[in-house]
C-alpha cells in the first residue's frame, strides 16, 4: 500500500491499513501535518455550524470526536464556549431560535462526551466573561474539545510504523506508473536527495489541497480530484486572554471566534479562495484586521492583547463553482480512479480534522473489500501511542525531577509515552535543559522527536513540541534546537544553524502581519540579536 500525504487523512489511512496487517509505505513531501492538518483551529468539534446544511457531517463529527477521546484522551482539552446574542429588534427571537438549534445539537453531545448547551442571562454572560461589551438579550454555552492536529498526525504515523508501516517525510513522489498489476512509485528525499522506488498494489492520494498535483504525477486527470482550496488563518496571542471561547461575527456576518487553546489564545478563522503556492502559505495584515475587528466588537480587550504570531493553512474543500466559500460542503469523498483506467488508485478529497478517523476507515474498508476482506477497522478502539493508560503529570514531575509545567505539557503531547521521553534525561546534560522556556520544551523531548517522531529539522521539532512558537518567537531556543538536531542526526553544525535560521525567518514572516506595539519591541530585539550573532 502506498499512501501519499502525511496529514490526518494520510496518516489515518496508513494507521488503519497497518493495523489490519497490510504493508504500508507513506510518502510526505514536507513534514507530517505540514498543511491543513497542522494549521487548523485545533478542535475536534462537533460541527455545529453544519447542522443546518449538512446534519450528517455534524453527526459523524460528534461520533468520531467520541472515538478520538477514547484512543487519545491525553490530547484533548475541554473548551467551553459562550455565544452572546445581541439585544436588538430580533434579539429575543434569535435567542429562542438558536436555543432550539442547540437543542438539536444536544442530541449529538453524548457521542462526544460533551455537556448539553445551557441558556444563560445577559447578566450571567457578563459575570462569566467580564470582558464582553454590548447589550445582549442573553446567551448560550456549549463545549467543544481542543486538540493538537500535528500531534494527531505524528501519533498516527508512529502507530502505523509500530505496526510495520514505513514513513518517509520530506520525500516527494515524482511519478507513479502502472507496471503489470502493480504501481511503481518513484520518490525523492528533498533533504538528502535519496531516491526511493517501491512497488505497490494500491496507491492512495491523501494530499489535501495538493491532490490535483499529485494526481498528475500518476497521469490521472487532475479535474477528477478537483478541490477548491480555501485559505484560513489564525492569530495567536501570548496567553489565555478570556475564560471561555467566545463566538463573534465578522463584518460580513461570518462566524468567527476567540478561544483559549493549549497555553495561548487564538482567534480564527478566515475562509478565502486560495490561488497561491501551497508550500508557502502566509497570512496578511488585512486578514488579521478582519479577525481582530470582528472579535473586538464584542471583546475589545483583544486589541490590547499581545499578538505573537499567525498561522495559515489551506482547506481541501470539495470543488464547486459559483458558491461562497462558507457555503461549500465539508464532506469528504473517495475517488476511485478505476474509471480513469487506473485500477487500485484512490484519492481522498475533502474532509475535516474532526472526522478524519472515519474518513480513513471508509478508505481502508474500500481497499480491504478487495484485498483483505477478513480484516476489520480497529482504529477507534486501539489507543494511539500514549493513550494506553492515564499518567499523572505531578507524579512524573516528582519522579524525574522536572518542573510540573514541563511535565504537564509533555503528558499533553505524549500521554503514557511521556515516560519514554523522560527516560532520555540521564543520557546527556542537554536532555535536562529547558531549551524552549515559553512552552516549555526539554532537550529530552527534542531528542525524542528526532529519534522517534521523524523530526528532521528545527521546524519539524516545533511542529511536534510547539518549541519556538511562544512569545519570544524562537529567539531563545531556535539556535540551540538546531545544535541538538544537528548533533542527533550527525549533521554539520552549520546545517543546524541554517535550519534554525530558516525557522526564524519563517516565524518572523508569520508574525509580521499581526505586529503590535509590544511585539514591535520584541522584533527590534530579534533584529539586534541576529546582528550580534553575525547570522543576519
Amino acid at each position: 500500500m502506498c499512501v501519499i500525504g502525511g496529514g490526518v487523512n494520510g496518516t489515518g489511512v496508513a494507521r488503519d491499513l497497518a493495523l489490519r496487517g497490510l504493508r504500508v509505505v507513506l510518502f510526505e513531501r514536507n513534514d507530517l501535518a505540514f498543511g491543513a492538518s497542522g494549521n487548523s483551529s485545533g478542535m475536534i468539534h462537533g460541527g455545529v455550524r453544519y447542522l443546518e446544511t449538512n446534519p450528517s457531517v455534524t453527526e459523524t463529527s460528534c461520533r468520531d470526536s467520541g472515538y478520538i477521546q477514547q484512543i487519545a484522551p491525553f490530547l484533548l482539552h475541554r473548551i467551553p464556549f459562550l455565544m452572546p446574542i445581541p439585544e436588538g429588534k430580533k434579539g429575543r427571537i434569535l435567542l429562542e431560535l438558536i436555543d432550539a438549534y442547540f437543542r438539536a445539537y444536544d442530541n449529538y453531545q453524548p457521542l462526544k462526551h460533551s455537556e448539553p448547551h445551557t441558556r444563560i442571562s445577559a447578566e450571567d454572560l457578563k459575570r462569566l466573561e467580564p470582558g464582553l461589551v454590548g447589550e445582549n438579550a442573553g446567551g448560550l454555552t456549549f463545549d467543544e474539545w481542543g486538540t493538537d492536529g500535528a500531534r494527531l498526525c505524528v501519533l498516527g504515523a508512529i502507530d502505523a510504523e509500530e505496526h510495520g508501516a514505513v514513513i518517509h517525510t520530506h520525500t516527494t513522489v515524482e511519478s507513479a506508473k502502472r507496471e503489470g498489476d502493480a504501481w511503481k512509485v518513484e520518490a525523492r528525499d528533498l533533504i538528502d536527495q535519496r531516491r526511493h522506488v517501491i512497488t505497490a498494489t494500491v496507491i492512495v492520494n491523501a494530499t489535501g489541497a495538493w491532490s490535483p498535483i499529485t494526481a498528475r504525477l500518476g497521469a490521472l486527470p487532475p479535474e477528477r480530484v478537483r478541490v477548491r482550496p480555501g485559505k484560513g488563518i489564525h492569530v495567536v496571542f501570548d496567553r489565555r486572554v478570556s475564560n471561555y471561547g467566545i463566538l463573534a461575527s465578522a463584518i460580513d456576518g461570518r462566524q468567527i471566534f476567540v478561544m483559549p487553546w493549549q497555553n495561548v489564545t487564538t482567534i480564527g478563522t478566515t475562509d478565502d479562495d486560495y490561488f497561491g503556492d501551497l508550500d508557502d502559505v502566509v497570512s496578511t495584515s488585512e486578514e488579521v484586521r478582519y479577525l481582530v475587528q470582528g472579535v473586538a466588537r464584542i471583546f475589545p480587550a483583544i486589541r490590547e492583547a499581545r499578538a505573537i504570531g499567525t498561522y495559515a493553512g489551506v482547506r481541501p474543500t470539495l470543488y464547486a463553482f459559483g458558491r461562497l466559500e462558507d457555503k461549500l460542503s465539508r464532506e469528504h469523498e473517495i475517488v476511485d480512479h478505476e474509471s480513469d483506467g487506473a485500477p487500485n488508485a484512490f484519492s481522498m478529497i475533502g474532509g475535516k480534522l474532526a472526522s478524519f478517523r472515519l474518513f480513513a476507515q471508509e478508505m481502508s474498508d474500500r481497499i480491504a473489500r478487495d484485498l483483505a476482506p477478513s480484516t476489520v477497522c480497529t482504529t477507534h478502539t486501539t489507543p494511539l501511542p500514549g493513550g494506553e493508560r492515564e499518567v499523572d503529570a505531578m507524579q512524573l514531575a516528582d519522579k524525574f525531577q522536572i518542573t510540573p509545567v514541563a511535565a504537564r505539557r509533555i503528558v499533553f503531547r505524549h500521554g503514557a509515552r511521556a515516560e519514554n521521553v523522560l527516560s532520555n534525561l540521564g543520557k546527556t546534560p542537554a536532555a535536562r535543559e529547558i531549551v524552549c522556556p515559553c512552552e516549555p520544551v526539554l532537550g529530552a523531548e527534542i531528542m525524542h522527536a528526532v529519534h522517534h517522531e521523524h523530526a528532521r529539522t528545527v521546524d519539524d521539532v516545533a511542529r511536534r513540541t510547539r518549541l519556538g512558537l511562544g512569545a519570544c518567537g524562537g529567539m531563545r531556543c531556535a539556535e540551540r534546537c538546531g545544535q541538538i538536531v544537528a548533533r542527533e542526526l550527525d549533521l554539520k553544525p552549520s546545517e543546524g544553524r541554517a535550519q534554525a535560521h530558516a525557522f526564524l525567518v519563517k516565524q518572523a514572516k508569520m508574525r509580521a502581519p499581526a505586529l503590535g506595539p509590544e511585539q514591535a519591541r520584541q522584533e527590534a530585539l530579534a533584529i539586534a540579536a541576529m546582528r550580534a550573532a553575525g547570522t543576519e
Binding site: 496578511t284 495584515s285 484586521r289 546534560p429 542537554a430 535536562r432 535543559e433 529547558i434 529567539m475 539556535e479 540551540r480 545544535q483 541538538i484 544537528a486 548533533r487 554539520k492 553544525p493 552549520s494 543546524g496 544553524r497 525567518v505 518572523a508 514572516k509 508574525r511 509580521a512 502581519p513 499581526a514 505586529l515 503590535g516 506595539p517 514591535a520 519591541r521 522584533e523 527590534a524 530585539l525 530579534a526 533584529i527 539586534a528 540579536a529 541576529m530 546582528r531 550580534a532 550573532a533 553575525g534 547570522t535
Partner: protein
Amino acid sequence: MKVVVVGSGAAGTAAVISARAAGADVTLVRGRAGASALGSGALDGVIDDDAKSITSALELHAVGACSVATSAGTIRKASGHDLSLLDLDQVKGPVLVARVAHVAWDADALAAAFSENDPRAFVARDVGIVLHTDERAMNHVELAARHDDPARLSRAAERIRSALEGASAVLLPPWLGAAAPRAKELSALAGVPCGEVLVPIDGPAGVRFERARDRWLQNARIDAKPGRASRVSEGKVVLESGEELSCDAIVLATGGVLAGGIVYTPGEPSTFALSYDAPVQLGLDGMPLAVPGSMYGVPPESLVWPGGEGLERVGIVSHTSAIRTCGDCASSRPRTMLEALSSGARVGRESAR
C-alpha cells in the same frame, strides 16, 4: 552652556561625557534600561575619534578589528569588543572551550561549530568553575557577578590552568564580571588569554556598560535625574514627575523602537510616534514620514525582518541648534553601539558650544 541630555544609554552617556569635556553644565535624565543595556559587547561599524574618546573614558572596550566567537556557534568580525570577550585574532593555537555544568552551555556543540569553518582547533574539556548546584541553572549575569569576587576568579584560574593541556587560549561562558570586565585579570592568573563567548541578548556586557557608565557619572558628579521626559520644547524639558529643567541646549538620546523611545502603533495613520511630546519630526531613511494611503497605517509586513527593517530605519529627522538627536532615535543611522557612542559624542560636543 547648560545642556540637558535625555536618555542614559550609550548615545546619551557619550553626549554627557563630551559635553562635560567641552565645559558644559550637564544634567542627565535617566530613563529605564534600553538597547545599550541589552548590548552584546561587540562594536560594529567605523571607529572614529569621537567614539574613541568615549571608549577610553568608559574603559570598557578594546577598539580595533577583532574576531569574536558567539553562543550561536559563529565566529564573526567586529570593530571592537567588550574587554571580557575573547579576541580570536590574537590567538594562534588550539582554543580550549570550557565544559562547565550549566544548562545553557554546551561546550562540545560550540567547539564543533567553531571548528567547522575555522583553522584553529577548538577542543572542549571539563573546567570546574561551577561551584554550587544552584549555579547550574543560574542566569549568566548573576554568574558574571559572582566572578567579580577576586577569590572566585583566582579559583577559576586554577581550574583553567589544570585543564589547559597546551591550549593557547580559553573560551568561557559569559561570566567574566558584571561590575567590570575581568578577563584581563583572569588571563594574567591563568597564564593564557581567557575570554567570553558573545551572547546576543542576555549576556552581562550590557550590565557592564551600565556599571561603567554609572562609575563615570559618579566620578564626574553629573546631576542625573531619574525618570522619563514627558514634554520637550526649546529650552525646557518637563519630566513625568512634573519637574521642569531649563537649559540652553537639549540632546535627545531616547532610543528607537527597542528602547521604547519610538512607539509603533498599528491601526493608526501615524504608525510611528515618539513616546513623549517634542517639536521634532519623524522620518524614514532621513525623509519625513509620508501620510500612508491606508487608514490602518503602514502595513507591518513591509517593516519588519526579514525583508524590510523599517522598525530600525524610523527616527527623528529634524535638527535645530536647540534640540539635537543621537543614537537609535535619530533616523537612518545603523543601530549599533559604536554609532551611538560616536553620534552621542559629536552631538554632545556641538551642544556645549
